[in-house]
């Protein structure tokens, strides 16, 4: 895989003309297929910076890579102790937070850009905001937003790795993006931002599709498309296996 990525990187490099500080990037694969043996995978985002001024020091550039999943609806609940038992009491629905979020950079995001810039592009876990205007006061909503981010990070679905962008040469970079087994299906985007002196001077977005394939896809669409037939099929399978067991293991006498 590494060799094919390097080959692809060379093609990308060769194809790009020399312009003012610019960015070219690509993905090791543009779709992830979830099959019965799927246990998570890594994709590689790679690219190159093209400096208008080749004599400029490479140190001025920063690269931030973001992989974002489809928007999800999240219900965050807070437990309260009632008569010794913890029960869910307050709930808040946050929509528009990505189902998956990965951000990597070559140095800590805070050193790359000021808060406003990072918030505009949603770079960094704490900058993720739900889409809809909440009817709740910000002070009340804030702990719920943070809890959602914390919980997603614990499940490995939100991740911030400040030093994961590797520079292979002064202009060539790559980052390995872990995609865990629990990622939801949908359309993802891989965004690459080129920063110079704290501002974005170039950006590129590439789509990435995650979908179930083969039997898994068939089972899932069967269960949701024809739930009654699916339930009957599940019962039939159970009855057949139960009957088979009673025949195979029939006690003599």
């Amino acid at each position: 895989m590494t060799r094919s990525i390097l080959a692809a990187m060379l093609v990308v490099l060769a194809a790009s003309g020399a312009r003012a500080d610019d960015l070219v990037s690509g993905l090791s694969q543009d779709q992830i297929q979830i099959t019965s043996s799927y246990t998570g995978t890594d994709i590689v985002v790679f690219g190159a910076i093209q400096s208008a001024d080749p004599s400029a020091a490479s140190g001025d550039h920063d690269i931030v890579v973001v992989v974002r999943g489809p928007g999800a609806e999240m219900v965050v609940r807070r437990k309260v102790r009632v008569a010794g038992v913890w029960i869910n009491r307050d709930a808040m629905t946050l929509s528009g937070l990505p189902a998956y979020y990965f951000v990597a950079s070559n140095r800590p995001l805070k050193d790359i850009a000021i808060d406003e810039t990072r918030e505009r592009y949603q770079l960094g876990l704490e900058t993720l905001e739900p889409l809809s205007e909440s009817t709740h006061s910000p002070a009340k909503a804030e702990p719920f937003r943070l809890a959602a981010i914390r919980e997603r990070a614990r499940e490995g679905l939100y991740r911030e790795t400040p030093t994961a962008v590797e520079f292979l040469s002064y202009s060539l970079f790559r980052v390995r993006v872990p995609v865990p087994a629990t990622v939801p299906r949908g359309e993802y985007t891989a965004e690459v931002y080129l920063f110079r002196d704290g501002s974005v001077i170039s950006a590129q977005t590439t789509p990435l599709y995650v979908d179930q394939a083969g039997l898994e896809r068939k089972v899932f669409s069967f269960a949701h498309g024809e739930p009654l037939l699916y339930g009957l099929a599940a019962v039939l399978m159970a009855l057949l296996l139960g009957w088979l067991a009673s025949v195979v293991f029939r006690q003599p006498g």
């Binding site: 246990t39 809890a147 087994a181 599940a234 067991a245």
Partner: protein, 306 residues
């Protein structure tokens, strides 16, 4: 070896799931119960979301009660008329249970409802069984014999109206108690993912006073039909039956049940009941701990992707 579950949308070690199915099958074969009360919490501990654990366990129990019911049917040990009456109540109970489960899921109280019902039910049943088996063991050691219950005793149940004759059970009783019993077990099946055999069998013996030889077969028919209905209703209402998970569990379960049945013949009845009582109380205590221990994070998240 990992396998991806298309409905749970997660991957699991299929050998671990097979082993879980086999272990629960072993227990169910040993004690003549469907084992749902063990399987559902074990799946939840393993990380399967509780709606999927509850719904998928139902289809696992359909398979195990099917093989058991066939064996009983060969022995002509089923009272189909009694089973039909209990089922009328059972289907109604399942419908109410699945509807209520969907409501609780929307309110985010699924885990609480499942855990609390388990703690209460298993605590009570386990306590009664522990008490009874310890007393029986002591009596056996002291050499005294517990007085056997005489048949034909009358209790409050015989005062109820709508009487019906059940020839295979040699009973002439009101249809209300079997209907109510079926309804109650139907609700439990939908809400907790249990077959209810561990409640049905004692209730049929002590409450309905059915002869012991038809009790197990009749309760298996009831469990078979109620869990089949639960599987279908959960599929339709909650899309929560994972057929791949069910397949692995069933294969393990039917194998385990065969060994369990053989193992059971080597142990004495009181010892068997003592072990089962401790098992039930253990599960209840573990779930109780989960309810009262301070969680690591007070916030929890439920995600749906359109």
């Amino acid at each position: 070896m990992e396998i991806y579950l298309p409905i749970a949308e997660m991957s699991v070690h299929w050998l671990i799931i097979l082993a879980l199915g086999t272990a629960v099958g072993l227990v169910s074969g040993m004690f003549g119960i469907s084992g749902g009360f063990l399987l559902t919490p074990i799946l939840i501990f393993y990380g399967i979301p509780s709606p999927i654990a509850v719904a998928t366990t139902a289809s696992h129990m359909t398979a195990s009660s099917m093989s058991g019911a066939i064996a009983q049917w060969r022995k002509r040990a089923i009272d189909f008329k009694m089973a039909a009456v209990m089922l009328a109540g059972g289907f109604a109970g399942t419908g109410v249970g699945v509807w209520w489960f969907a409501l609780m899921r929307a309110k985010g109280q699924t885990d609480l409802v499942v855990s609390v019902s388990y703690v209460v039910l298993l605590g009570v049943i386990g306590g009664i069984m522990l008490n009874e088996s310890v007393r029986a063991l002591r009596a056996a050691r002291a050499g005294t014999v517990e007085p056997a219950r005489r048949g034909g005793q009358h209790n409050w149940i015989h005062g109820l109206p709508f009487k019906m004759r059940f020839r295979d059970s040699r009973l002439y009783i009101s249809v209300i108690p079997p209907l109510a019993l079926g309804f109650f077990v139907g609700v439990l099946s939908a809400v907790m993912g249990v077959g209810g055999g561990f409640m049905l069998v004692p209730a049929m013996i002590y409450l309905l006073r059915m002869p012991t030889n038809v009790v197990v077969g009749t309760s298996l028919v009831q469990i078979l039909c109620v869990t089949a209905a639960t599987t279908i209703l959960q599929s339709v209402n909650n899309y929560s039956v994972d057929i791949v998970l069910a397949l692995v569990l069933i294969v393990g379960g039917v194998i385990g049940a065969q060994f369990g049945t053989r193992l059971a013949t080597r142990l004495r009845g009181e010892q068997l009941r003592l072990i089962l009582a401790l098992l039930i109380l253990g599960v209840a205590l573990r779930l109780l701990y989960g309810l009262i221990a301070t969680p690591d994070d007070l916030y929890s998240l439920q995600v749906s992707t359109p």
